[in-house]
Each structure stands twice: as C-alpha cells, then as structure tokens.
Symmetry: C2
Subunit: 366 residues, 2 copies
DNA sequence: TGTTAGCACTCCATAACTTTGACTGCTAGC
DNA sequence: GCTAGCAGTCAAAGTTATGGAGTGCTAACA
C-alpha cells in the first residue's frame, strides 16, 4: 500500500536532488519504523508498501538513501533505520499534518470540558490529557504568570490571620497566601479587592507587579485601614510572580513502554532529566517559535537526550507566550499523532479562553 | 560490630523458641541485606558483624534459621536471603524504631513550614517530602472529605456566572465550583457564606452533607434570593464529597533505583499498579489500624506485589481516618528509615493542626 | 554437647565458541 | 535501468567449558 501522495513537490526539491521514488520509499521506511521499531529491509518495504519495485532495486535505492544520510545501518547485513535527517524531512515535508482520530478528539474535549477554576489544576489536567492521548510522558511548563490578563482580584481573610489572594485570569485562578496584620476586617478586604480589581482589570499581572507600589500608595492615603494589608500583600504578589514558573509532569513511566528503553541504563538517562525540573525547563525553552516545535534526536543540546525527541506547542495569548505544552519520547516518535494531539489541545484551550472572554463584557454592560 | 542490643527478650520469645544468638545473627543478616542487597554468607556475617563465632558455626546457625523459615537459599551453594517471615520479625521486634536523622528532620520541617492553604497542595507537598526522605515512591490517599471538621465556608462569585466554594478545614481548604443563576449578587453570596459558616462551624463535612437539605430549606424561606444558589450549591457539595477521594503519587521512577528492578518486566508489574489509582487505593486500604502499618512481601494480596512491601501511616484526627500516607518499595526496604520518616511527618502534621486550632478560638473571643 | 578446621561438592556467572538466519552487496543477464 | 541469484557478513541465540564463591559434612577438639 502506497500511503504517500505527492502534493508539495516544489518545496521538497529545495531540500536536495532527491527523486520522488526515493521520497516514497523514505516515507514508507519512517512510518514503518515508527510503528514497528524494527529496521527497514528491502524485503519488508517490497512486501508491505511498494510491490511494483523488486527487493533488489529497493536495495539499490536504500543504499542510495544511506549515502545521502537519511538511513543508517547498525551493522552490515542488518536492515536500516532512519537518521535524525530523515525524521526532520519527514516532519517538515512528508507526514500528514494531523493523524488524530475523532474518537481521541472527543476524549480531549470531554476531559477539558470539566472545567476547573484554578490555573494549576487546568495545567495538570492538560498534561494528563496529552499523556493519555499520545502515550508518552507529558510536560507543561507555565512560563510565569507575567502575561496573564487580570479579570478580578479577591482577598479572602481566613480564620487564622492569614488571607488568600485570588487573581482571576482568562485562563484560571492564580492563588497566593499572606498574613494579615490584626485589625484588618473582612470589610477592608472587600474594599481592597474592589479597588485592586478596578485598577488592574484588563492589565497583565506583569503590569500589576510594576505599578502596584505607586497605585497602592495612593490607596493607602484614601483608606486608612489598608495599611494592615499593604506590605504583606506586596510580598505575596512578588513571590507569586517571580518564583513560580510552574512545571507539571505526567506519565513519566510511559517512556518504558518503548523498546528503545528496555535497557534501564538508557531509560535512566532520560528519566533523570524528567526528574530534574531545572534541566527540563531548559529543554522546553529550546525549539522555535512556531505553533508546534520539534527537536529531533541529535538536534537536542543535552547529550543524554540525543536518543530522544521533544515536541512542544507554544501556547500564546495575544502573541505572548503563556506556556509550553509538550511530550518527550524516543526519536522514533509518532510525530504525526503527537502534533495532532497538541494542536487539538491548544485549539480547545483557545476556545475555552474565548468562552470566558465574552461573559465579562456582558457583565460590564449590565 | 554487633549492632543488636537485647532489650525485649520476653516479647521475642513469644514468637518461637529462637535463641538470642540466632536473633543477633538474623538481625545482622536482615540489616546487611537491606543495605547491600547481596545474599548473606557465613563469611560476611563473621567478617562484618560477629567475629567471635567462626564461619563454620555460623553455617550451622544459618542452616538452622533456614529450617525455621527465616532465610532461604536461591540455590545450593549460594548465600541466603531473608524471607517475609524474617522481615516481619525484624519489623515487629528487632529494628530500632526510628533511624531518622536530625538533618532529615530539619528538611521535613522546612518543607512543611512553607504552609499552603489548599488541602490538595498540602497533600502533594507531603508526598514529595516522603519520597525525598525515603527515596521510594510515595503515595498519599485522602480518604474522602467526610471526617474533616469545618471552620468556615465561603462562596465567591466569579466573573462568568460561576462561583467558587471554599470550605476551610483544620487541614486546609477544600474547593469546588458551581454555576450561579443570574440575579445572584455578591451580597447574596456573602450572606450565604455567613449563614453556612454559622450553621456548620465545628461540624464535619459529612454532617453538612447529611443535613444541608433541611438546613437550607429554612434559609430559603428567610432569604428569597438564596434560591439562585440553592440547587447548584447542593450539587457541588455532593460532587465534592462523594467522588473525590484524592490520590497523589510522587517519585514512581525511584523504584528503578533498586537492584531488584533492573529487569524491566519485574519493574513494570509494580509500576503498572502505581499507575492504576483504583488498585492503589485498595492496596493502601489494607493493613492494620496501627499508627504505622507494614505489609511485607508475600503478605500482599496482589500477586504482582509479592516482591514488594508497603508501609503506610494512618493519619487520623480525633480518631477518624483522614488519609493514608505511605511508600511502596522492594521487600528489602529500609523499614526503619521509612517508619521514622512517616512518624515524623505525621507528628509534624499534627503540630500544624494544633497551630490552626488555637487561632480561631482567639478570634471567637474577640 | 557445642565449636571448629578442612575438604569435597554444587552450581551460578562468565567467557569462548558454534550455529543459524536474515539481510545486504555484487554480478551477470534481461 | 531493473532484477534474479548467490556469496559474504554479522548479530542473536544456543552450547560448552572454566572459575570461584559458598555450602554441607566429617572428624577432631574443648
């Protein structure tokens, strides 16, 4: 069965003077290797994909593709496996952009429709959905809270002289906690909440951080009792904003389902990176600015990740990066399925975002 | 070096007619195997632990201990490894109850002192601390919210016609979300919050569930606008209470650090159970009602866990089970260290609990 | 009766070797 | 330019030796 349809001939030839037939063979080879993880042989390509070319001819073609750097043999008399160059060509030019079934789409929608209020809950939910849809470990890196647009601010006094800070954003509630000086009443908190919401509605959290000092000095003059809140609130805000670039991981052990990691030593290298939040953050800060970004095998900076690929979606709002959402897996990754899953999830997240966006305007007009 | 000091002779003899010398040998054997994971031999015991008994005599003793079922040989001419029976004796009678260093204690206190408001955050923090302190995968199963005592109830309207429900408990905030009918003002939410807090302060969440219908019927009569809240709030409460017995896992891959899981097939069996929340819940519902409960090797019900041990602490408030906190690891687990870590964490949790308990009374008296 | 030295026995772990089979590269013919 | 067929190659699996660690047993001793 020939799965390759020739639609982008012009683009392809930019890469190299590579015949259409070689591309067809390479496409079959990569897809087969992704699916079965066994080296490609002239026999298997003939049998499964391209019956009208004999194995002997395929041998010549495979040999040529090897000379061009798209395939490599593990040893003489073994079949061939794709190189990073082949995966790159496959990802850029050959693969169907989304091989993501309707059934999976339904599952994703179902899971995301159970909306949760807190941003961190949304993130871990998203990570879970991706890991389930792709069967690889999923990682979500929230790139700080700076770019999130504020919808409302609430300060809620708790019983033991502390208070919750809830910042409602279009994506979910961000929360912090701080201590109240004695004498701060529930009323003061309500007043402060209203004041802050009024001053910062529609602005980003970064804007709030940069301007809260001056804004609150004014407020302090207006409202006396506000002083019991002032310092601690600012502390809380700066803690909230500076430190917490949240990272969530789900399904690390799914890595072990792949035959390239039957040797624990190899698996350990990758799992150790998955354990180390700082390293992982760096990994997910790499890649280009496209909607979906692929870092394949040897393209990875880290030596221990040369056997891996990282696929991530850049989740943006108003052109500003909010989070990196992605998976990590063997170089022999099902790129098509992963890219499909990530696209669907980002698009569903954007829909949720629109949903919350329309309502407050309705409220405002009332 | 003889690490065993004889203090509980009377108790020990209840088990079996086993000489003090055999106990000393067995103690050395188990501790050595826990530390090095290599079979015990007459030579190594002589060299490392009991110099004044010759290897030949130790051979006789080890052979006798094998006949009694405390040791087993993997094959003739191999050393011996402890059986489940040996670990059970070790845990019940021989081990030092806490082998938990001051340094580790400081770490635990540090981590727990960064108090977070939300119960789910507290739980995952606790799981992280345990996994870090023991170097095994940690699991926390929150046994529903039923037994948590209520301190305050807040309903917070969000911008898009939905509302947050925050139930403050002595252990942390439990939160839910529900939709508001139109016309429900911020004032109504405040009134409802105050009313609910007044009615249910000090009662458990279970009590609230069982009595909210009747209590709120009265309130509906008092306050007209309350009807916009009524149904959805009850829905939210019952969802909150029934479904969510939270389970949190941290450090699953730490299992792979142990030599008994260098074969991925063996590791997979255990990791699969760690993936399956339902099965895991059952595992952690087993065990006795003691403060710390050990389920060792073959004592496990699940066939796939016969090579594992599960140690859990029952975290209770007022005698009522709140959560199971524990670790899962190879049968050759460092029981002493794990038990120490769990005890410390439960005791620190109880302290935090007391801390929040004193403050509201202060508030009440003001 | 309990302890101990010494020796024979056992059996795993490791390495060296052999066999098998899958696949390629090459050559010659179409 | 394509293809059949055959020789060559090499890993994977199976087989056979070798070494060494550890026990069990026996006989002597306190």
């Amino acid at each position: 069965m020939l799965r390759f349809d020739c639609t982008k001939k012009g683009d392809r030839l930019e890469y190299e003077n590579i015949s259409e037939r070689k591309l067809q063979i390479l496409y079959s080879a990569v897809e087969d290797y992704i699916q079965f993880a066994t080296p490609i042989t002239s026999g298997s390509v003939h049998e499964k994909y391209i019956q009208d070319i004999s194995p002997a001819t395929l041998r010549n073609e495979l040999s040529a593709l090897e000379a061009m750097g798209y395939l490599k043999q593990l040893h003489t008399s073994s079949g061939r496996v794709p190189t990073t160059k082949a995966y790159r060509l496959y990802v850029n030019e050959l693969m169907k952009s989304t091989k993501f079934g309707k059934k999976e789409l339904e599952t994703v929608r179902d899971l995301l429709s159970k909306r949760t209020a807190y941003l961190t809950d949304v993130i871990s939910q998203v990570a879970g959905v991706i890991s389930q849809a792709t069967n690889y470990p999923a990682v979500v890196v929230l790139n700080g809270y700076d770019n999130l647009p504020i919808e409302s601010i609430k300060i809620i006094p708790l019983i033991d002289k502390s208070a919750l800070l809830l910042i409602g954003t279009k994506n979910g509630i961000v929360n912090g906690q701080f201590n109240l000086s004695s004498g701060v009443t529930e009323e003061v908190c309500v007043d402060a909440s209203n004041l802050l919401t009024k001053k910062f509605y529609g602005k980003t959290i970064k804007y709030m951080r940069d301007n809260i000092q001056t804004e609150l000095v004014d407020a302090k003059n207006e409202i006396d009792s506000f002083s019991g809140l002032y310092n601690n609130l600012i502390d809380c805000l700066s803690n909230l904003i500076s430190g917490q670039s949240h990272i969530i991981k789900v399904g690390e052990t799914k890595l072990l389902n792949n035959p390239e990691y039957t040797d624990l030593k190899d698996a350990k290298k990758v799992l150790d990176i998955l354990e180390d939040d700082n390293e992982l953050k760096q990994v997910f800060e790499n890649g280009d600015e496209n909607e979906i970004s692929f870092t394949i095998g040897r393209e990875n900076n880290s030596e221990d990740l040369k056997s891996c690929s990282v696929v991530k979606a850049n989740y943006k709002i108003g052109g500003k990066q909010i989070a990196s959402i992605g998976v990590i897996g063997p170089e022999r990754m099902d790129y098509s399925n992963v890219a499909g899953a990530l696209k669907v999830i980002v698009s569903e997240l954007n829909k949720l975002n629109l949903l919350t966006k329309t309502n407050p305007e309705g409220d405002e007009q009332n």
